[in-house]
Symmetry: C2
DNA sequence: GTCTATAGGGGGATAGAC
DNA sequence: GTCTATCCCCCTATAGAC
């Protein structure tokens, strides 16, 4: 799980995530990873024999991250509003790091993926959408959110605002993401 | 402009667009284009010496397309509602063709672009956002649209719904885009 | 688990004939 | 404007020593 171990395998994984979100899967090579970690090409292949193995591990890593987040949110008894704020903050952080979200990056590359990775990506997307949907539904029940769409549709509206908002901000500037962020909150404000 | 000439250069351009939207800029090669058009690698380089020249031409092509569309909409006196419907239909067509929009594709690859292409992409985005903003503002004035955000913010909400909606649909299926489409229309319905 | 070394392929790009 | 031929580089991936 997220940044617990400091072994080479984990470092490769986390660097791979970063490179995918900043440059895309096709645009980075094992040599880039080797250089950054001061190891050799062959060492990277030892941990992830093929690049697809790395991609698969990255998507799985994200599923783990979100499962961990879901557990943590339950344990700490965050309100739906707090949960959503925390979720949205993750996207603001992407903008600051000049990254796009993993789902957007995966979508751009989706047609080049082997079936196993496609399947794992779908698993990730379903999981994340499910999480947000539950949060929105809970917020509507307790009166902190208001919307007329189904929770599922409202989730897709919100998620697409966030995902493409991050992409837009990369081109037109951070300010646009902040405006989108504020507008999103208004669309579900009770 | 769009699909008027049938010369090789135009064919390369249009095939390049298709490949970028389906597979991404990094994932296709001049060999792919040469094979499809039954010409040789070198002939592609004759028309577009470097791959960046092709990318630049593709983004310019899209600017031309939207300028042409804007002119046509003015001449044919389409209502704001009709203009928006036509615009949204373009995104539905992308989903059917298993493509993502050029802006989303460009964003994913943005950090790998030379400055000249980045600048041209920004030009495209500004132009398209401006177009939609005018349409939304006109629709609000004539009472066919209703929204409380500024026209610019509402434009960003709508555009991000469309752009990431297309990306999401690639992963989770066409039905999700159709649901997003319906929900979008409700958000601006007068 | 990491190294050196290298195989094998594909990519972008150019020279020069036609 | 298209061709053949080719260069050079970088990529993914593997074999085998340490």
């Amino acid at each position: 799980m997220a940044a617990l171990a400091n072994d080479t395998k984990t470092q490769i994984l986390e660097l791979g995530i970063q490179l995918i979100q900043q440059h895309g899967y096709q645009a980075f090579s094992y040599a880039d990873i080797a250089r950054a970690l001061h190891i050799k090409n062959a060492a990277v292949h030892y941990h992830f024999p093929a690049k697809e193995d790395l991609y698969l591990a990255i998507v799985q890593y994200y599923i783990d991250v979100y499962q961990h987040m879901a557990r943590q949110m339950n344990e700490t008894q965050l309100s739906p509003k707090q949960q959503l704020d925390r979720f949205i903050q993750r996207y603001a952080d992407l903008v600051d790091a000049n990254k796009i979200c993993i789902i957007g990056a995966a979508s751009a590359d989706y047609n080049n993926m082997p079936e196993a990775v496609k399947k794992k990506v779908t698993e990730l997307v379903d999981y994340v959408l499910g999480l947000v949907e539950k949060t929105l539904a809970a917020g509507k029940r307790n009166g902190s959110f208001a919307f007329t769409e189904t929770a599922k549709n409202q989730t897709m509206l919100l998620m697409t605002n966030l995902a493409a908002g991050v992409q837009l901000a990369r081109i037109t500037g951070k300010k646009d993401f902040e405006n989108i962020r504020k507008s999103i909150l208004k669309t579900i404000q009770a």
